[in-house]
Symmetry: C2
Subunit: 274 residues, 2 copies
Amino acid sequence: MVKQSAKNRTVFFISDRTGITAEALGGSLLSQFEGVDFNKIHLSFIDTLDKANAAAVKVNSASIKTGEPALVFSTQIDAEYRDILSKSNCIFFDFFDTFISKMERSLDLKSSHTAGQSHGVNHNDNYSDRISSINFALGSDDGLGSKSYENADLILVGVSRSGKTPSCLFMALQYGINAANYPLIEQDLDNTQLPESLQQHKHKLFGLTINPIRLQKIRDERRSNSSYASLKQCQSEVKRAEDLYHSNNIPFIDTTQTSIEEISAKIINKLSLR
Amino acid sequence: MVKQSAKNRTVFFISDRTGITAEALGGSLLSQFEGVDFNKIHLSFIDTLDKANAAAVKVNSASIKTGEPALVFSTQIDAEYRDILSKSNCIFFDFFDTFISKMERSLDLKSSHTAGQSHGVNHNDNYSDRISSINFALGSDDGLGSKSYENADLILVGVSRSGKTPSCLFMALQYGINAANYPLIEQDLDNTQLPESLQQHKHKLFGLTINPIRLQKIRDERRSNSSYASLKQCQSEVKRAEDLYHSNNIPFIDTTQTSIEEISAKIINKLSLR
């Protein structure tokens, strides 16, 4: 990366619908530029002429205020409203117009050009799977539902607070994957063998590990100064969990510097879940 | 939309990282084209020359097999690997190259051009908020944590199985919003007044409602043939919940045909949470 001094820049995410796609797209691009302090503004449901004009006014004001044209990431579909936005004082990143005409040509089809098909209940082919997977993750949380292991796509294993639950929920929400969750407790960690309820599901297991110092910090926020949160306890649990993974050939990942997005993608990739 | 006969087309989401952005972007574009049966293939972590070549082989095979060039949605950053992919037999949608050079010019900066800054723990400015909000949502789930209402950004209210928990979790995961959850039970519904624990947090309340027939179906999957799942019970609860929202001026939304993405975006918009 080229080093540079800090700058300020206003960024708008503008959509006629929820703006989730504009945000995912723009956020990913922004992450490529360090050293800039981006002031992010979300304008969702810009679906009338009045709202489009009002949005353009906000963009213009921001550009005047910072002395640099604002960046606008748009998934606006309506050509008239898009035009109003793109002619405002900004650098306009037109997500739909850039790609949609190319798609129309390559598919030899007209696009629906109808807003709101992206995140609807009916158009999202795995929506009900996703909701049902959330319920699955909640129902099997913290080993309460070992009966559900039969229906699990995978079972995350790890010591308390190593990141199992957020990872399970993310995979459910994003992909409709049924991820169960088994917390390793003292009696599991005293063995080199897998807990009995897991043995027949070995191919579904994936381990999580974490830096003991980080674990200590997380646990201390929850139960301050407890033996549960002591560094010694954390070190011992993490060491024994990793030993268990090694002796049983369970793939595992360190969550210390890894986001739930990356944890999920790596697990899905490793277990060939999609 | 222009009606057309069904077609088959293979679509690849290719990334040197998790592929989440490629998928969000491409998925949103694909949703604009009905009547096409898209066979979706995810190739994540394409971060070596060998993997890029192997990916290109897969793309070529798919194009030959279907007789039409595959669509490739790429967030590949490395120019060499990207080149290998774009020269394969496909329609190449180059997410990074299309926008990143424009951003470099407008920011007068070089991009980091380093893979993996998008979803990391350190580069995602609200990552720890998101994780802490997931724990918040879980801790306050189903009214168990009324003490937590003080720290809530919003409190979702609704009858059992109206969609509160998935919505709370989505807002936590996606936005780092602390969303609590209050289930309306019989004794709440027999009143026109708000439950006592909610009264001082009225400005944080948002109601969910749902079509009683749909609710009956959802509840029946959970507790088949129970009075809880009877249509009469569902109709009565939904009616009284809506009455409660009206008499207390609580904004509410019908979740029957609305995805959690849209529910969340509408609530955030209405309560000006961002």
